[in-house]
Symmetry: C5
Subunit: 340 residues, 5 copies
Amino acid sequence: MAYNYHFDIATSSRGKILLKLIFKWKSSIWKAIYGELIVWCMMYFFISIIYRFALSPDQQDGFERFVQFINARMKYIPMDFMLGFFVTIVSNRWITQFGNLGMIDNIALFTSAYVNGRDEKARNIRRNIVRYCVLSQTMVFRDIHFGVRKRFPTLETMVAAGIMMPHELHKFNDVKTRYAKYWLGFNWALHLVNQAKKEGRIEGDIPRDAIAQEIKNFRTGLQLIWTYDWVPLPLMYPQLVFLAVHCYFLLCLIGRQFIIRPEAANTTEIDLWIPFMSIIEFLFYMGWLKVAMDLLNPFGEDDDDFDCNFLIDRNLTVSMAAVDDSYDDLPEIKKDIFWD
Amino acid sequence: MAYNYHFDIATSSRGKILLKLIFKWKSSIWKAIYGELIVWCMMYFFISIIYRFALSPDQQDGFERFVQFINARMKYIPMDFMLGFFVTIVSNRWITQFGNLGMIDNIALFTSAYVNGRDEKARNIRRNIVRYCVLSQTMVFRDIHFGVRKRFPTLETMVAAGIMMPHELHKFNDVKTRYAKYWLGFNWALHLVNQAKKEGRIEGDIPRDAIAQEIKNFRTGLQLIWTYDWVPLPLMYPQLVFLAVHCYFLLCLIGRQFIIRPEAANTTEIDLWIPFMSIIEFLFYMGWLKVAMDLLNPFGEDDDDFDCNFLIDRNLTVSMAAVDDSYDDLPEIKKDIFWD
Amino acid sequence: MAYNYHFDIATSSRGKILLKLIFKWKSSIWKAIYGELIVWCMMYFFISIIYRFALSPDQQDGFERFVQFINARMKYIPMDFMLGFFVTIVSNRWITQFGNLGMIDNIALFTSAYVNGRDEKARNIRRNIVRYCVLSQTMVFRDIHFGVRKRFPTLETMVAAGIMMPHELHKFNDVKTRYAKYWLGFNWALHLVNQAKKEGRIEGDIPRDAIAQEIKNFRTGLQLIWTYDWVPLPLMYPQLVFLAVHCYFLLCLIGRQFIIRPEAANTTEIDLWIPFMSIIEFLFYMGWLKVAMDLLNPFGEDDDDFDCNFLIDRNLTVSMAAVDDSYDDLPEIKKDIFWD
Amino acid sequence: MAYNYHFDIATSSRGKILLKLIFKWKSSIWKAIYGELIVWCMMYFFISIIYRFALSPDQQDGFERFVQFINARMKYIPMDFMLGFFVTIVSNRWITQFGNLGMIDNIALFTSAYVNGRDEKARNIRRNIVRYCVLSQTMVFRDIHFGVRKRFPTLETMVAAGIMMPHELHKFNDVKTRYAKYWLGFNWALHLVNQAKKEGRIEGDIPRDAIAQEIKNFRTGLQLIWTYDWVPLPLMYPQLVFLAVHCYFLLCLIGRQFIIRPEAANTTEIDLWIPFMSIIEFLFYMGWLKVAMDLLNPFGEDDDDFDCNFLIDRNLTVSMAAVDDSYDDLPEIKKDIFWD
Amino acid sequence: MAYNYHFDIATSSRGKILLKLIFKWKSSIWKAIYGELIVWCMMYFFISIIYRFALSPDQQDGFERFVQFINARMKYIPMDFMLGFFVTIVSNRWITQFGNLGMIDNIALFTSAYVNGRDEKARNIRRNIVRYCVLSQTMVFRDIHFGVRKRFPTLETMVAAGIMMPHELHKFNDVKTRYAKYWLGFNWALHLVNQAKKEGRIEGDIPRDAIAQEIKNFRTGLQLIWTYDWVPLPLMYPQLVFLAVHCYFLLCLIGRQFIIRPEAANTTEIDLWIPFMSIIEFLFYMGWLKVAMDLLNPFGEDDDDFDCNFLIDRNLTVSMAAVDDSYDDLPEIKKDIFWD
């Protein structure tokens, strides 16, 4: 789950924020790019050593002209614009996905309020309505979220976890279709609502429809999630941005070499051996790319990705508490302290 | 249908992602631009050879000045800004269109829940309500999606595919109007809902209205799709961006030639014959333009375009399953495993 | 009406798209700027000839310094940023306006479904409900759309076109207020719905409210359109962008002259007489400005502007067909071909 | 009220548009910046004269170096980026505020349609429902709009204007709370709707709720307006942008001086006395800042600000006409001219 | 609470606005960055003094080359693009959070209108419905807002403040779950609404549902707030932007030193000792970063952060007034002054 830095920002003194933000490891920029950076540096030094020690002066001259040729044309690659606009687009996608992960609360609260009865069947109906919604949510998450897929590799594991019951799995498998059956759980939930109405546990059309509308909203959000997975942004766009950054730093391996011979046209001002300005540049652009890739697919297992397993557990627990334990369990009605 | 790269990103190790993202062919940037790139390179080499071998020194001098003149003014064309902002606008359009393609699920689930009866007529009514919606959707797609048009060149082919029935086609053709009749299927669906209510299969106004609202939402989404097709972005805007990129690289054919005579004012640092930096530039800008064009019209037959034929089949199958096979077919109500 | 290029993009081979997109005339960038370009070129050549033939060497020297002074400062005008951000803002406005032009379909379908009866009065009521909505829409369009204003210069012409009837115009004129009476048609429509309910043609509050809600949505969309017209973007913003582009190219008339005397500090690399790089620049920036102006007011009569006259006719025809001809005219209910 | 330039753009020939857009004074860029420009020019000439006539050659040399120092570093201030992004943010804010100013039409039309009766009390109830909404709107506007505050400095002036009645003011003042009482008018309106229902003037829960929902929507829009006023964008942001532009042109006073001594390293190409390129730059950047400030607070009294006084009057007049004069005043139902 | 500068902008003369905007201290840019600026200046002068007085000419030469090396590469850090796009993203987040803080008014007004009765129990029910909503809101704010957490460190302090009553706290603690119990208050509110209906204080399903929908909307807004806190923007993104700005100015400490030896290749035009252009740059970029950080977490205790304690008090007071004191307390119905 994502490290929540809000509290740090809100409460620390300035200096501490600076240190905390910079020297964080988990889900940090450092962790994201250190691998690439090490590889890049090793390649840089390899070329550097060749240039300094292995080449003849004539070859050095040719290399220096090549360096100059490349370095003068680095700005042909519009990384700034690509990254800026691309991150804006994928962050909007990220926010939309995040806003539709599906909190069960509205369904649970309305089920609790509108489906009456303390008998076993009433309790069961309420519990099943919300459980069927979590069941469908879990099925969607299994197909798009790496962590949920790992937790529930088969439907049987969902039965073991209590999200589904054996006879429900049986029924589920009876429905034959080559398309995903995310809708089935919702169908059960809606027909259960219907049955509750028929048995008088829901009084009237309006409460029934209110619950149905919430189930629909929940389902529509999940549908958005899986259609976003069904039709991703055209591969070309992330590929292009990805290539641009990697291509740029590949060229930097040559173009940013220190030129040590004073007779060259492009002798570097000072020979530092370590191209620290390019390393800084690497940090920011490669880091920016990592942000883009991170936002592009939040259903993986990175530190920052959505914790869908947590969400499933939370939805199950909270909804059971709301529809059963706290059903019609009001505090006594008393005068509050502002009563005049 | 679009290649889905999310799973790759989520699960592969870093090195593999890099390779997978870069060396993908289908719906990749490579596939999109290789044709243009080859043409461009051939033209470049043609000019290069003329300059090197066919021109007299005086002509070479003139050519070199011309090269310098152009190269110094390449930045007159604001490709970065145009592409960045244009892609943002068309990607918003793309997302809106994508979000309104029309999933039948809400209509199907509400029809299943609110239209009662196991007799043949009830089943027929439920099946027809959802089929009429898919029918209208198919008609919209026929007019805007190239692949659907190819699949259903005439209304008769829709009858053959079972989306429409012969007597319905007859009725459809009876309605004479010079405007598209997308609304007709929805009119049938709504009157069918009405009839179901009159026959007592729908109990009360609220359920009827709930189904009608879902039909309306579905229709409004499709309306958005075809009005987006009716009024495209003013032609000028894509034309401008398209021209900018092509004009830029046409100028590059001259402006990026290697200048080989040392007496020229703009002798290139090193003569490589292959303008690989310009080729890289070509890759990124032309690729960016392809992204824009791809997003501008997602109803074609590119690898990344919306797969509307799949959607029609899926809607038909899923809705039939939901309203008929799974109608009121609940799992037995039992205590779940969290029951205390 | 806008030229629809989607089909071209979707179906043509690459080369053809290029040619079609570039050599289109109607609503093209060429048509939009050729006038300005000719004027600009004539002014450029006039100055050029003066500089080359009419000035003394001393005057030429002064002119050359002036050219250098201006050319070195052209980037003081931030056209890129202004155009990019401005076009983004106006294109959002354009999309919002476009999305609220008002399709009558929802009102028509609900009126058809919920107002019962085949007798003359019932048919009249249904027809009038939708006609009154189109009537109000036409009144809004008359005040903001140039083409609709031309078609209906007076309310009498609306009567002649059948959108209004003489006794309705009389009633309309009876209402005295100094504010626009767009609401009046909707008031009639709503009271007509009321009357239909009183006469039992609409059964219950829910159907009545469903129609009323659609009328309200239609009206709210139109309200947005005319309030966008009432409060435009502050004049300053388009004025600023407009000025920036024109000012820039006015300065180009001087700053981009070919400097022909070798003793000048800024002798141009080569004397081509025709400033083709600046012409290309002109094409792109002036074209971008045209895109902005086009999007800023889509209610004019340009090739790309919204075709509101078409919309009025379409709304009238479609809604009449939906509420009258196709009222309760269902195809016979039969088993579809997927019936097992 | 804002000058509406849409009509000009739509109907004029090109040349006229150019002239009209450029030489407009009211709410123009010229009016917005002429003051600052004059002050800036005077300061510029003052420094210019000191440099040219008052300084010794040594002092001139120092000044010239200082000019060079500053001019080479002007781009340290990222005005382009700041203004571009800031204007985008504030223009979104502006559009949201504008879209929630509150048109009374929906409330008025629903009140007219759903509250029955031609007797005096019924008419009074209808009139009061809409008047109470306008009353609350006026109270909100009084607190955020400068012009409305000037028109209604006290609640008594609202009574004088007929928006409130004396006994209502009395009641209003009876409610003691240290928070704004914008909600009170809406409370009255809702209870009035209740009373109308109790007296049988509104038939059923659905119509009552329909009116209540419209009142709620109207109120929620106004709430958004005043919460935007309650929590403005953090002061820092506009302050930063404001400072950037002013700081930039303060530095220009030095950095853009004409350097007249040929022995200086940065002698200007030509001595024009008037820094017209910097004046042009001033025009565009200062103008852009004015656009930002204008959009940031549209509730002032600038030419472009929202005309809330007009809106109050319009709402009052239109709603009275809709609920009273045109109550149930339908044109006779006749066959329209398309009747076959 | 944020300083509201709208009134200043709207009403002051130009000169005054300038002064007010610039010389404001509270929640100003000056206050935000003065600390960092002082530290930076001290470090700059320390290095400056070392360079000027402590180094040998050879060391000075090396330092000067180092300065030149860095200064030529400062643009490797794309601060402009990062800050511009980042601030756009976080400002959208900020606006969304702000729009969902939760105003109780709609719930209060509907409770007041739809729950009847002047007896003690009715009054208590109305008061409790709204109080339970504020209670849940307070619980959410306690977990994300620093100031609310300080005010209510324990639930007992909420009891002391009257937001909760002792027996309610008891009941609250009885519900055992490891997830946040924000939903519990809403569950109570909904069951209270149910009870009111059962006792006939709410007449019919529609009013009950109307209140329930408002409670749901309020809760959904709060849910958005706490899920935004649950899943922040990936840490990497703010970290990256934060690092970029700090890294840039760290490099400036070297790269922007005045080079005083004339024999250096990069001798500064003039030795001013104070790097005022870099200080100005520091002001704008560091200020921009502060804006970003401020918008990123508006639930802290900065001058500009949301004043959630105020909101809780206001919601409690206003809702009590609306549901109790002003319940069904209408002004007498009289003819308004526009009555003809």
